[in-house]
């Protein structure tokens, strides 16, 4: 994304903050919406649009789980593995998805075709729907069985990509 596009996005929001540094996070989240992750160019564009140094911008981006500084799949599937979800079968869902997508059980990762990233998530705030899954930043869904979770991934693989990647 270009610095001008980011500036245009930030402009109507600028007056809401006494310090322009507060614009860095909205800028990063927005810059991520074209590629689904933040490339070197995206980070530089955010730096230029907000007036902070690239190294500062990068240090902010690296702090947050949902800002990706490395490429990820077209869809990011977050499987909650925290306590309430564990009690309701999230480990079984996780194992099944990793196996199905040929992804390492310990760390998660991206399928060989680059379409799907499976990652562990900490409590998503949908423990009443445990075990639950969030795709990108869409509303979290659940409860899943290993099979229904696999069906969700198949659907995602077949569906067109979203126009913007809000993650």
């Amino acid at each position: 994304m270009t610095a001008d596009e980011i500036r245009a996005y930030l402009e109507p929001r600028r007056h809401e903050f006494a310090d322009p540094r507060s614009l860095v996070m909205p800028a990063l989240k927005y810059a991520q919406t074209t590629r689904g992750h933040l490339s070197r160019e995206d980070l530089d564009a955010v730096a230029e649009a907000t007036g902070f140094t690239p190294s500062f911008v990068e240090s902010v981006a690296s702090f947050y789980d949902r800002l990706y500084t490395q490429p990820v799949g077209n869809r990011v599937v977050s499987v909650c593995i925290t306590l309430s979800c564990m009690l309701r079968g999230s480990d079984e869902v996780w194992d099944h998805l990793c196996e199905k997508e040929g992804i390492d059980h310990h760390h998660g990762g991206t399928s060989a075709d680059g379409r799907i990233t499976i990652q562990e998530a900490q409590c998503l705030g949908y423990c009443d729907k445990a075990p639950c899954i969030q795709v990108d930043a869409d509303e979290t869904l659940g409860p899943f069985t290993p099979d229904s979770a696999a069906a969700l991934v198949d659907e995602l693989r077949a569906a067109p990509d979203p126009e913007e990647y809000w993650r």
């Binding site: 929001r13 809401e16 903050f17 006494a18 310090d19 322009p20 540094r21 507060s22 614009l23 860095v24 996070m25 909205p26 990063l28 989240k29 240090s59 902010v60 702090f63 947050y64 789980d65 949902r66 800002l67 977050s78 593995i81 925290t82 306590l83 309430s84 564990m86 009690l87 309701r88 079968g89 999230s90 480990d91 079984e92 998530a121 900490q122 409590c123 998503l124 705030g125 949908y126 423990c127 009443d128 729907k129 445990a130 075990p131 969030q134 930043a137 869409d138 509303e139 979290t140 409860p143 899943f144 069985t145 229904s148 809000w166 993650r167």
Partner: protein
């Protein structure tokens, strides 16, 4: 039910109140006009104080008292910050208040802003709640169009507006000073206190920070009076509270109860539909995961701050996680250790390394690779973490695990000897 609070207003209407008209039809936006017409800001703070409302985000600090800590004579801008980071394991109440009753939260924040003399409020919402953030954005637009936010609200002299600010996935940003750092566009790492946010908060200005549920309780309090609220429940824990309940229960969900009137047993067995047939309660983390665990012997504890504390735990966020006797307490403790290890911001080494070690020790135990000395080592580790860190996250990691080791020592010993295979989970439809 004498409550017209939080989620009940939504239930009364039986549909989400996401349009201004629907919120008004359910009795919304009567408190704000009343306050603007009849109540001076200082008196409004006094209303909050007399209601006895305590913070619903975890610590339970009296809301009106916190508002009174903001300096009256400061020339700096003042801010209200609504903590909607809701990332405490087991907690999902703010989610529903925002999705189903967004205007009640906006009205509450506006009342707080008027009371302390602020011109802007921020809702810091966890990035994973993008859906709720959009509901709030839309509600803010509607409220602005109707003159309920912006300049000269309801033709008064009050100028106040609200910004919805999205986080990006970090539990620590729920801690109030980390939240402020994040809202200032930085890495979300806690600040040293003092100064407290009331004096030097957002942009070093006086800032009132409260949880979603706390702020959403203000409109009914102003509408019905502080005495009405104070008369609900016990003297020190008045009012109603939403409990999120999950884990091995038949009907997980959000249930609003009057504090002190319902026991833990009733929450589990009446509201949440109890357990699967033949199962017994093994462990309950009653106030989110950062509190000492309770057992079957505590089920008759009334749900209010004092009673839960007397039972050895804390009401916390009201995120109640239930595990039945099919679960393994060591595995559950490990899962929590992993959570805190993952969410530690890394600023203090007792927290960063302590949580890593806790996780390692517990992993060894469930794999059947531990020795008895590891239990003592874990106890030593608690002492090395407790009280030696910048923020309470580390304490939150110690509390559930230390209490589990005390209460269920036999289980730990057994797991050290034999390991612990993964038990059958309670699956969907079971």
């Amino acid at each position: 039910m004498p409550i017209m609070n939080n989620v009940y207003r939504q239930r009364a209407a039986e549909k989400p109140l996401v349009t201004l008209d629907d919120y008004r039809a359910a009795g919304g936006y009567t408190a704000l006009p009343k306050a603007l017409a009849d109540v001076e800001p200082d008196d409004l703070q006094y209303v909050f104080m007399r209601s006895g409302l305590r913070g619903r985000g975890g610590a339970g600090f009296p809301m009106g008292k916190k508002a009174s800590f903001l300096p009256k004579d400061s020339k700096k801008a003042k801010y209200v910050v609504c903590n909607a980071d809701e990332s405490e394991p087991g907690t999902f109440k703010d989610r529903d208040i925002m999705a189903f009753n967004p205007f009640q939260l906006l009205e509450g924040i506006t009342l707080a802003g008027y009371a302390i003399g602020a011109e802007r409020g921020y809702i810091y919402i966890r990035g994973e709640y993008e859906h709720q953030a959009r509901v709030l954005d839309d509600a803010v637009r509607q409220a602005r169009a109707a003159g309920l936010l912006g300049e000269g609200i309801l033709k008064s002299t009050l100028n106040f507006d609200i910004t919805v600010y999205r986080g990006a996935g970090a539990y620590i940003c729920g801690e109030e000073t980390a939240l402020l750092e994040s809202l200032e566009g930085k890495r979300g790492q806690p600040r040293l206190k003092p100064p407290f946010p009331a004096v030097a908060g957002l942009y070093q200005s006086p800032t009132l920070i409260n949880n979603v549920e706390t702020l959403a309780a203000l409109p009914p309090i102003v509408e019905n009076g502080a005495d009405w609220y104070a008369a609900l429940g016990p003297e020190k824990s008045p009012g109603s509270k939403v409990f999120s309940i999950s884990g091995h229960v038949m009907r997980p969900g959000n249930y609003e109860i009057v504090l002190g009137e319902t026991t833990l047993r009733e929450l589990i067995f009446v509201h949440a539909g109890g357990l699967r047939p033949g199962r017994r309660v093994k462990a309950v983390w009653v106030g989110g995961s950062s509190v000492p665990v309770l057992g079957e012997g505590h089920l008759d504890t009334p749900l209010d701050y004092e009673s839960i504390q007397a039972a050895g735990s804390a009401l916390g966020s009201g995120g109640c996680i239930v595990m039945d006797d099919s679960g393994c307490i060591v595995r559950a403790s490990l899962r929590l250790a992993t959570f805190y290890r993952h969410e530690s911001c890394g600023k203090c080494s007792p927290c960063r390394e302590g949580t890593t070690w806790l996780e390692k020790l517990l992993m060894r135990m469930i794999a059947g690779e531990a020795r008895m000395e590891d239990l003592e080592m874990m106890e030593t580790l608690f002492g090395r973490i407790s009280g030696k860190t910048l923020c309470p996250l580390a304490e939150g990691a110690v509390a559930p695990i230390k209490s589990a080791l005390n209460m269920f020592r036999d289980d730990f010993v057994r797991v050290v000897e034999n390991g612990s295979p993964r038990p059958e989970p309670m699956m969907a439809g079971a």
